[in-house]
């Protein structure tokens, strides 16, 4: 598969937006879907549909196998040790809630500290906040430096004898900073602290190797990874999944149910209560295949090249201020234009078919720190090309003209 014309694998680009070609720069929000993924959903529902794991008839057997095949594909893609370390959830948000809830139940008590960062998405803050309310734990925030990065040192500074878990993003969805997860994990483990990584922005854009990263938990949103909506993945080391209590309760996750008590099923069923997102899981196998066909190496270098091109162009535009300047930067460029509110930028760009996002990107803590109510954000997917940035820049110039800026 040639990455230079990968766009043709995505049917959405055959459509016009306000009579213009779609320039989609909102992949950090959600990625578009390759045709193979959408076709798989269609075929599954029209030719093979059945619920998973509960009946012995032909369709059910086939669906169960397909469902478990995806688990194995994901295991391999993440280089996880065991397929039972892959839990399907409804999204990264649920994956993080699952960990915060079950880890919190078992291991956190009043005065304990959870260490997160100023870069975190609300999804990796609110679930911990619940424990602040219910258990009286404390939340510490590792601070960003002037480049919008989190360094190993900024983490180290905030670790105390009360730190019970570290929960950090792999890539900031605002500054694009790539965090040194492997080093942070080593540090954390040297102090016996487990680490959760919010991999929403990391998973679609970086080579992933769970055994090498060695983190305890890794949360993924499939819809940002060329997969269907309503699906996420929690990778967790087996010892944790065996050790922690179950999360939601229902069918499929139990062993024996009596009026007096209940025993829970083994992994991975223990964390997959109720009917799962069968069709989505099965289709996600095609997303993995798609990524594997291009090859993560090619994706990384393609996106790096795009990123450099985009930064170069935008830096030349004297009204554009880029947010953050991390040495290791992946897949997102947030910016402001002095004199034009991001919301207005987004509306004007949209008229030209350029889709970006404006707002706080669910990172209010960071925006408060930066003293900004909102920023504009252009984010990349495999289907982007250099001319997308040319169009972005042209449309930014249109904003400037409308707002009478030089």
């Amino acid at each position: 598969m040639n990455i230079d014309n990968i766009k043709k694998e995505f049917p959405i680009f055959n459509n016009k937006v306000h009579n213009n070609d779609l320039v989609y720069l909102d992949s950090a929000n959600s990625s578009q879907k390759p045709k193979t993924v959408v076709d798989r959903i269609y075929d599954f529902y029209t030719k093979e549909f059945s619920n998973v794991g509960r009946s012995v008839h032909y369709l059910a057997v086939a669906a169960t196998n397909l469902y478990e095949n995806t688990r194995v594909s994901v295991q391999k893609y993440l280089n996880a040790k065991d397929k039972d370390e892959i839990v399907f959830t409804k999204g990264a948000t649920e994956a993080i809630n699952l960990v915060a809830n079950t880890f919190g139940q078992k291991y956190l008590k009043e005065g304990d500290e959870v260490l997160i960062t100023e870069l975190e998405h609300h999804s990796n803050y609110v679930p911990w906040h619940y424990l602040r309310n219910s258990k009286g734990i404390k939340i510490e925030f590792a601070e960003i430096n002037n480049d919008g990065e989190i360094t190993l040192e900024s983490i180290e500074k905030k670790i105390t004898s009360k730190t019970k878990i570290i929960a950090i993003t792999h890539i900031s969805n605002v500054t694009g900073a790539i965090l040194p997860i492997k080093e942070i994990t080593k540090l954390a483990h040297s102090k016996n602290i487990p680490i959760l990584v919010d991999g929403c922005q990391g998973a679609p854009h970086l080579k992933l190797d769970m055994q090498d990263l060695d983190c305890d938990f890794y949360a993924i949103s499939c819809h940002k990874m060329y997969g269907p909506t309503g699906l996420g993945i929690l990778y967790a080391k087996k010892k944790w999944l065996e050790d922690l209590p179950p999360y939601q309760g229902g069918g499929g996750m139990i062993k024996e149910v009596k009026k007096e008590g209940i025993s829970y099923g083994d992994l991975p069923n223990k964390y997959e209560a109720g009917t799962m997102a069968t069709a989505q899981v099965i289709a996600f196998n095609e997303s993995i295949k798609f990524l594997e066909k291009i090859g993560i190496k090619n994706i990384v270098s393609h996106e790096k090249e795009l990123m450099e091109y985009g930064l170069e162009i935008l830096k030349k535009n004297n009204s554009v201020k880029i947010i953050g300047n991390p040495k290791n930067k992946g897949s997102v460029i947030s910016f402001t234009i002095e004199g034009v509110h991001p919301h207005d930028i987004a509306t004007i760009l949209d008229e030209d078919g350029v889709a970006i996002r404006a707002g706080h990107h669910c990172c209010q803590i960071l925006h408060e720190k930066l003293g900004l109510a909102a920023t504009a954000r252009a984010s990349l997917g495999v289907y982007n090309v250099k001319s997308d940035f040319d169009q972005l820049n042209d449309s930014i110039n249109k904003c400037k003209k409308i707002f009478d800026l030089k």
């Binding site: 034009v340 991001p342 919301h343 509306t347 004007i348 925006h367 409308i402 707002f403 009478d404």
Partner: protein, 157 residues
């Protein structure tokens, strides 16, 4: 769709140089509004005198050109108006933004109407309607002495 209709001269002017952007010392009514989607915030201050006339009105806040211009134009408009007329004018404005293309109230004169009509371009931009109406809902809330802040995700438009 037409960006020129949305970003008319007068909107850009009010957006850049909002009138009445300050607090009032001796206000007797106020309310806060918030659009969580884009972070726009507004705080409306009102001084209602004994004759139930709006003696002074101002706002503080930050937001996009549309929301700043709307608050600016609104405060200009209401200075000197009677309390009893506020509801009718607000409703007329909201209707103009939502459904009709015209203003129908007799309380406003033609000049005032022309100025307000500048905001009608927003109708073609559904996601921006909330920007244009935030300060108006917040004004209503201030008049009603509501305890809850206005949240555009909560009100109908």
């Amino acid at each position: 769709m037409n960006l020129k209709e949305l970003y008319q001269e007068i909107i850009l002017d009010h957006g850049k140089n909002p009138r009445n952007l300050k607090s009032i010392n001796d206000y007797n009514k106020d309310a806060k509004g918030h659009n969580p989607l884009c972070g726009d915030k507004v705080h409306i201050y009102l001084k209602l005198n004994n004759n139930m006339k709006i003696e002074d009105i101002s706002f503080e806040g930050s937001g996009c050109a549309i929301s700043m211009a709307s608050a600016s134009i609104m405060t200009e408009l209401f200075k000197g108006k009677e309390k009893k007329d506020v509801k009718e004018i607000v409703n007329d404005f909201l209707n103009m933004i939502k459904e009709k293309s015209e203003l129908s109230t007799n309380i406003l004169n033609d000049d005032e109407k022309t100025k307000l009509m500048c905001l009608s371009g927003v109708k073609q931009y559904p996601m921006r309607v909330k920007c244009a109406t935030l300060s108006w809902h917040t004004l209503t809330s201030a008049m009603n002495n509501d305890k809850e802040d206005v949240n555009t995700e909560n009100v109908k438009i």
